[in-house]
């Protein structure tokens, strides 16, 4: 989305093939002609706002044709769109808007009418944050960040162009493709399954975010539109398989966002009899960096594969030394698509390092590289887990809970969950005589955390937390006790 070339190319599709369908959304089919008209109408509505050149605006990432047209209009006009999740709490949104020096909140109604609300003038909230450069970026994504304030990641326009070129070439995509776009529009996954497909002049089936966990809806949608390209977290495939459907039109199936649980592949493969399977690894900061072409008959752990064309990977051991042959350590990647750095300047020196004349991003992921150069993901170097494919920092969730005045101490542990993959359990010691309840604590959590990071279960206690011999809260014991309770 983040490039002038994209906006111009979509406009050309509008002129040359106005009757081809660009987007399916619920029962609407939006042609390239209609998408262009909508975009042009929004461009003229934008002009009436008299925004200074290269303004940054905030557009809640509702996954609708109208929002997509608004973003195209902004890319045309040379403005920058900050597109956080529509579910983000209002306090976090306010902070993000300050940090990006947003001038307006823009939304577009179902009838294509633009609504603009001026944002409060930036105060101290923007201190320490770079001003996004409209010459390099048109889009600011945010990391899934489990704290109240996600990190703002400018997507380079040239990086997006290089990425879409790679994807079209590597998957041999043509304008006759139909993608099933499952992830929310604010995820980097939309760079492939929405924006690359629109640039190509292909068709995108938008999953209604309200119904993203409705198995029957998803299977019917994929079947009705004969999707040829499917990208999603493992949960998507579990949901698609639930009613035993098969998707013969699919040519490419992409697993991403999380490790595919053991045993799922043997069920997925027969449901996509004509598809090639790929495990793709990436993050918002670098976009996709690894790909593995999956053998559907293979068992055992699925590798993330090898660096994609133009990318480089390094593995550093615990002492920060380069692992040059087979071995395990932290993964650093450098891709042609990566961001120029977070808007928040003081995060960049730790996250991005200069080596061999390239900038590498420290992923925080622990990988093992085999002697053949194949990479396997082992886990996180820090406190991150994936909840429904979204990277979530347990320590940050703990900090939010502990910030409640009635909380003495809080521990958050990940528990295995058959549907979500992982769900969070909070074990919280409250201060004496406060009468804090788990519901009040959830309300507090909901104000400061995105939904996926709110613990699914909360155990409140007046007793101190169990400790290890070194005096730290005993997270393993808390986790074991809770799992025993569930099994009981």
């Amino acid at each position: 989305m983040p490039s002038p070339r994209l906006a111009e190319t979509v406009a050309v599709h509008g002129r040359h093939r106005p009757h081809s369908i660009a987007l399916h959304f619920n029962d609407q089919a939006v042609t390239y002609g209609r998408l262009s008209d909508l975009t042009e109408s929004l461009r003229s509505q934008l002009l009436q706002l008299d925004l200074p050149a290269g303004s940054t605006v905030y557009v809640p990432a509702h996954k609708t044709p109208q929002t997509i047209a608004l973003l195209l209009a902004l890319f045309h006009e040379g403005h920058i769109a900050l597109t956080p999740s529509p579910d983000l709490g209002s306090a976090a949104l306010g902070r993000l808007a300050q940090q990006a020096r947003v001038s307006h909140l823009l939304t577009v109604a179902g009838d294509g009418v633009l609504a603009a609300t001026p944002a409060p003038a930036p105060e101290d909230g923007a201190q320490g944050f770079a001003v996004p450069d409209p010459g390099r970026t048109r889009l600011l994504l945010t990391t899934s960040g489990s704290t109240g304030t996600p990190k703002i990641v400018p997507i380079e326009a040239a990086g997006f162009d290089a990425f879409s070129d790679w994807a079209v070439d590597d998957f041999a995509l043509s304008p006759s493709e139909t993608a099933l776009s499952y992830a929310p529009l604010n995820f980097d996954l939309a760079l492939l399954d929405v924006w690359t497909f629109l640039q190509l002049g292909a068709c995108v089936v938008l999953v209604d975010q309200q119904r993203a966990t409705d198995a029957a809806y998803l299977a019917a949608l994929a079947a009705r539109h004969q999707v040829t390209f499917v990208q999603g977290v493992p949960m998507l495939y579990r949901l698609l398989l639930e009613n035993g459907a098969a998707f013969a039109a699919a040519r490419h199936v992409i697993f991403t966002g999380d490790s595919l649980p053991a045993g799922l592949l043997t069920h997925v493969a027969p449901a996509f009899p004509n598809a090639a399977f790929h495990n793709v690894f990436g993050c918002t900061e670098t976009n996709d960096s690894f790909i593995h072409h999956v053998d559907p008959t293979a068992d055992g752990p699925m590798p993330i594969g090898r660096p994609i064309r133009g990318s480089q990977a390094l593995v550093l051991d615990a002492e920060g030394r380069r692992v040059t042959s087979a071995g395990t350590g932290e993964l650093l990647v450098s891709t042609p698509f990566q961001t120029g750095g977070y808007l928040r300047r003081d995060l960049n020196s730790a996250a991005f390092v200069h080596l061999d004349g390239r900038v590498f991003y420290r992923t925080g992921d622990i990988v093992t590289r085999t002697a053949e150069g194949l990479y396997f993901l082992e886990g996180r170097a820090d406190w991150h887990v994936k909840v429904r494919g979204v990277r979530t920092n347990l320590q940050e969730v703990e900090n939010v809970l502990a910030a409640h005045p009635d909380v003495a101490e809080a521990v958050v542990v990940p528990l295995p969950d058959p549907q979500a993959g992982v769900r969070l359990h909070a074990h919280v010691a409250r201060r004496p005589d406060t009468g804090l309840t788990s519901l009040r604590l959830r309300t507090h959590a909901g104000r400061h955390l995105p939904r996926h990071a709110i613990p699914a279960s909360v155990h409140l206690t007046d007793a101190p937390l169990p400790r290890t011999s070194t005096g730290k809260p005993d997270r393993n014991l808390i986790k074991r006790n809770r799992m025993k309770e569930i099994d009981a």
Binding site: T213, L439, R442, A445, A456
Partner: protein, 88 residues
């Protein structure tokens, strides 16, 4: 089934499914179940499927919007508006 009965049944379902083992004495009819993460999108599907089964409301009749399931009061109102059982 009368409205108070529906309210009690819905409350019992939500407590058993989403708040098992927790102190729910302050779970009021206007408590926001969505923003507080008690019911997530997977939970929404479970709640919807319970309502359609327990109150014999066709799933297609219920608009699948989080606001209809945001509070216990809202859920009871949705059931009351659609349920053939509640109408008598």
């Amino acid at each position: 089934m009368s409205s108070p009965d529906i309210a009690a049944e819905v409350r019992a379902f939500v407590v058993a499914e989403f708040l098992a083992g927790e102190d729910t004495s302050d779970l009021t009819g206007d408590y926001d179940l969505i923003d507080s993460g008690v019911i997530d999108s997977l939970g929404l599907v479970r709640l919807l499927s319970h309502i359609t089964r327990a109150y014999r409301i066709p799933a297609d009749d219920i608009e699948f919007a989080p606001d209809h399931f945001r509070t216990l009061d809202a859920v009871v109102a949705v059931i009351a508006a659609h349920s053939p059982a509640a109408a008598v």
